[in-house]
Symmetry: C2
DNA sequence: TAGATTGTTAATCGATTAACAATC
DNA sequence: TAGATTGTTAATCGATTAACAATC
């Protein structure tokens, strides 16, 4: 009786590696003036298999030195290059509910390379109001603003039923990547990348796993 | 030259199935008075392989009828049982920044089975202020409140450097599951389940994939 | 009955891990 | 030199998909 599949929902870290995750920890190390790190160290801290980390990095180049490890600052530089974090991207956000406003306030920059430069809401009564130095615009200004400000990324924070429609307006306006917070699976044409930031799914599965943990305490199974 | 690994960051949907995702779509169908659905239909809508969906569901029981498909309402009921969505869980949230406040306002219920019933902030000057009918409490009241209100789930919306510390306070107070929004990998003892809702990692990898799409348009590769 | 669709086995595919030669 | 740690190959493990008998 294996729990073969729901395991795949897994919390981050254990499975599926990710350069962004490495980068975050490397930045910490750099701040603490650590100069060198081994795949062993990284693996321990991030709960990953060292072989996996070496393989991930080796895929993009030879960044380490045998017998020594990885130079922290050099590795940071390389990963930033790979992830294209050098050039800043302009971001438009649609949906000025609580979550949308939170993101706008988060910082004008959400992470080093992403900057929210325009905010929209389909509710025209909201147009003209101000969020963290940005003026909320009506939807019909989207195409012109995207072109004018060279916006390449869109963030969707509208209610689920509106999300697909909003995504299509982003695509029509020429956006290349979308981060979707609405709890629906969105479709987009090839050439437009959609990432989902769906914490409601994480919450829903949490209860399941909490009980699963109960069981494993009564004897069997790992995790 | 395969992009073998970063593919794993993938947007939801394509790989790794998940009962919560099925449930969401089934609920839509139910609202539209659709009575029956096939793994084919589900697969098309959710961008998943029908065999995968059948396998996922079959693992928990025989919910379908050969030659017919799945009864929507029956399947909803079963999935809700599996995910333990029947009983409500009480949730405490720590960190009343923009994101924390957004979640509190989201609804007193965040999803059917989770209810934020207490809010904390380590900044004692914030204690006593009110967010959506909840009074912000100082951290030292956490253990007593968790016990009194039978809180089993914790949400972390503090800055990254504080997150591990906050998680440990949750654990000490007896919480069983944590949803972490801070961009760090948290450690917790066995028996405590941690899920990550890390949209910053999704954002960071977005740029990488947007360029990758460029390349695939110039000839090669799938995805 | 003929057509459809499940549940499940078998085949494929891909990802993770172990192991080790190369080398700092 | 001896010890450490990479990059990478080979072995394992697990997940995805195809295929099909069972059956509605």
């Amino acid at each position: 009786m294996r729990r073969y599949h729901l395991e795949a929902i897994e919390n981050l870290g254990s499975r599926r590696s990710a350069l962004p995750i490495y980068l975050r920890f490397l930045n910490e190390l750099s701040l603490s003036n650590v100069q060198t790190v081994s795949s062993q160290d990284l693996g321990e801290k991030l709960d990953l298999n060292p072989a996996q980390i070496r393989k991930d990095l080796a895929y993009f180049g030879e960044f380490g030195r045998k017998g020594v490890g990885y130079n922290v600052d050099y590795l940071i530089e390389k990963i930033r290059q790979i992830l294209k974090l050098d050039k800043t991207m302009n971001v438009a956000l649609i949906g000025t509910g609580n979550l949308g406003r939170a993101l706008c306030n988060y910082n004008t920059y959400i992470k080093d390379n992403m900057k929210i430069v325009a905010v929209f809401d389909s509710d025209t009564s909201k147009a003209g109001s101000s969020i963290n130095h940005l003026t909320v615009q009506p939807m019909d200004e989207l195409p012109a603003t995207v072109a004018k400000l060279d916006i390449t990324v869109g963030i969707i924070t509208v209610p689920a039923p509106e999300a697909q429609n909003v995504a299509e307006q982003f695509v029509a306006a020429g956006i290349r990547g979308i981060l979707n917070f609405a709890p629906v699976v969105l479709k987009a044409p090839r050439g437009v990348r959609i990432h989902h930031a769906d914490f409601t799914a994480e919450l829903l599965s949490l209860a399941y796993y909490m009980d699963y943990n109960d069981q494993s305490q009564n004897g069997s199974a790992s995790v």
